[in-house]
Symmetry: C3
Subunit: 143 residues, 3 copies
Amino acid sequence: MEYREVEPTREFVCGLSHGADWRGELETLATEETLDAAFFVALGAVQDATIFFYDQDRQEYDAVEFDEPFEVASCVGNIATLEGEPFAHTHAVLSRPDGTAIAGHLDAGTVFAGEAWVRAFEEPLVREHDAVTDLDLWSLDAT
Amino acid sequence: MEYREVEPTREFVCGLSHGADWRGELETLATEETLDAAFFVALGAVQDATIFFYDQDRQEYDAVEFDEPFEVASCVGNIATLEGEPFAHTHAVLSRPDGTAIAGHLDAGTVFAGEAWVRAFEEPLVREHDAVTDLDLWSLDAT
Amino acid sequence: MEYREVEPTREFVCGLSHGADWRGELETLATEETLDAAFFVALGAVQDATIFFYDQDRQEYDAVEFDEPFEVASCVGNIATLEGEPFAHTHAVLSRPDGTAIAGHLDAGTVFAGEAWVRAFEEPLVREHDAVTDLDLWSLDAT
């Protein structure tokens, strides 16, 4: 395991805008406040969703699109820098009127209403290509 | 997006009482410690649950009641003031013995066992009626 | 409800090792950094999973094993001391390629990739047998 002790800096509560993209809203905050490392926790509802599943054998993301409203029953993720831009790595659990749930890597979703808590860190998190998984993972031992 | 930088104040770990209401326990903490803004993360188990789904077209909550035990696989939410009282906006993912999950806005659930981490903020969060969604959302630009 | 105000100490971001055990990685951090109280939030993917469901009537854990890859759509938990050793109480929501979710108490899972945020507290959390639930719960009023 690679890990890094981090120094917390600033903290935010966010009301995501109705009609905006869920992940984009978190990246907008990162851009406006120059956050290059943070974790977040969020909840709310979306009008639709694109969920990614990473095929661990083929090492490619497959997308599943859902054109229906969901509660965002859980959303956790983090902000790091990917190719020089802020990227909000976002996982979510979404639910339907009968309570059934779908979940995964949330690539996109139109916000109905959303509430997020964002905690930023002093030390930048940078994503770089990882040869084993073919994912862009944090490079924690580079500092 | 509306957002607010917040100043953390106090932090708590809570063991929710067996037999009490899950959301009520968080609101009891808010009342006893005079918390008017916080985020929380929790896990545990409940003996039953009432899940709300917000119908985005009709703009009304529909309730689904489950009279069975669940693991609380995820619970995230926040404490704000609604009509002068602390309200714990609580979303949860619940699971059955075979692992299948239900999820949504947790209105009520009888605690079997529960563990919560609550992080409070200096600046009060106040919920007010939002005309677009017909929900009570944070008014972040009012300060 | 029992609760305790806690003093935050150190904070970590962790990249869990490919091929290691998900929960074991969090306990390794606790051991290496001598953490005896913390909450964590994590996300990523596993290659398999063993989920526990606590039967509230029989008061025993039943295990369900899944030999398939999952996204870790949500993972929340905490670190406390159990019988003198760090124990990472870990709940998770896992998802399949079609988005369907399973969830519960994550006993074990082989990390494909994982990212965790760990927040430690000054006051140790100690688990002791609870007569009502037959679980090892925090003893918060002992301090």
